[in-house]
């Protein structure tokens, strides 16, 4: 019975009376929608997209420069660079001859899938190419944002300590490959590389781990071999 006048119409809703609505919507739904569109684009064109994530200063850009040089123009490469400010990294990449676009996130701490969609419109990568996305240097936030990539690759350097994977577990859990970079510095450090690897595997037992040095070239062949296998999978998925 209606509480206002005693009528039997219980369908009348008084404006201003609170009601509950069940929503059940993921907060990531919008990003995930853009990521799915990016992934369709990559898969449709047989493009291998890799999302490189790390702390600032792990040597990502130098590693990427060496990687592109070693691929030697046989495999067309494109790069999306993410930083809060400056276009320094994109300029470093362009000197290798690879097309690169810089995204400046301003105060933002990560790249999102919407930004990547626009960057792809600018880059217009050729079919069967490789797109490297160098994310903002941050081991926290980029873990949660799918960009539509085939794999997340964590780059961390030997100077960052054995317990880095335990301190920033989400990123290591989200990645398929870890490159332990600046391996040429190991003789000068007290770091326990076996413990470093064991800690990464504690977070993610399926993680592939390669030690690299962009400076000496150590481990670069293994990394290029991993890319080559991933490319075959990308081509097969087309």
């Amino acid at each position: 019975m209606c509480g206002s006048c005693g009528c039997s119409d219980d369908q009348v809703q008084t404006s201003g009376s609170p009601r509950q609505i069940v929503v059940e919507r993921s907060l990531m739904a919008k990003n995930d929608g853009y990521a799915a569109a990016n992934r369709r684009r990559f898969v449709g064109d047989g493009i291998l997209a890799l999302n490189l994530v790390s702390s600032p200063g792990s040597g990502k850009t130098e590693l990427l420069v060496k990687t592109i040089e070693m691929l030697g123009g046989n495999d067309p490469c494109y790069v999306i660079e993410g930083d809060q400010q400056t276009s320094n990294d994109a300029e470093r990449i362009r000197r290798t001859g690879a097309p690169a676009v810089q995204i400046n996130t301003g105060k933002g701490c990560h790249l999102d899938a919407h930004m990547i969609g626009h960057a792809l419109d600018d880059l217009d990568p050729a079919p069967d190419s490789i797109v490297f996305i160098e994310n903002v240097g941050n081991l926290v936030c980029p873990a949660g944002f799918d960009l539509g990539e085939a794999h997340k690759v964590v780059v961390f350097s030997v100077t960052e300590g054995e317990d880095k994977p335990l301190k920033y577990p989400d990123m290591f859990a989200a990645a398929d490959l870890t490159l332990i970079n600046k391996a040429d510095l190991l003789p000068y450090l007290d770091v326990d590389i076996d413990l470093m690897i064991a800690n990464a595997r504690r977070i993610n037992p399926k993680l592939v781990i390669i030690q690299t040095s962009a400076k000496t070239g150590a481990g670069m062949d293994d990394w290029l071999g991993w890319i080559s296998t991933a490319r075959r999978h990308a081509a097969a998925a087309e």
Partner: protein, 113 residues
């Protein structure tokens, strides 16, 4: 501070729901935040108040529900609650655990006018 951009997502969803369901004000929002979702509830509350200004949810209360995180042992298949991603299996003590649930970020329900 990706909590701010998550709050912007919340605001967009609430504005969309307001148009679809015909309400003009949100009194209360129930969020499900998994303990392993890499989101700090306090930062989310702070961002929420700032981002909702001028929207249908200005001044709305936030209720954060934290479900437990569970994982399956890759060695003995035992399923248990975990507090961190690297917790060892409580059953066999050796195997690494693979998370089943615990990283959800969801708006579950709203109280609206």
């Amino acid at each position: 501070m990706h909590e701010m951009s998550l709050c912007e997502n919340i605001r967009d969803i609430l504005e969309e729901q307001a148009r679809e369901s015909g309400f003009t004000r949100v009194n209360r929002v129930w969020l499900e935040v998994g303990p392993l979702s890499c989101v700090e509830p306090d930062a989310l509350r702070f961002g929420f108040d700032v981002v909702m200004r001028g929207s249908v949810a200005q001044g709305a209360a936030v209720e954060i529900m934290t479900p437990i995180a569970t994982a399956r042992c890759l060695a003995c298949q035992h399923i248990a609650e975990i507090k961190q991603r690297y917790d060892p299996c409580p059953q066999c003590g050796t195997g690494p655990m693979e998370m089943i649930q615990g990283d959800a970020l969801r708006i579950s329900k709203l109280e609206v006018v």
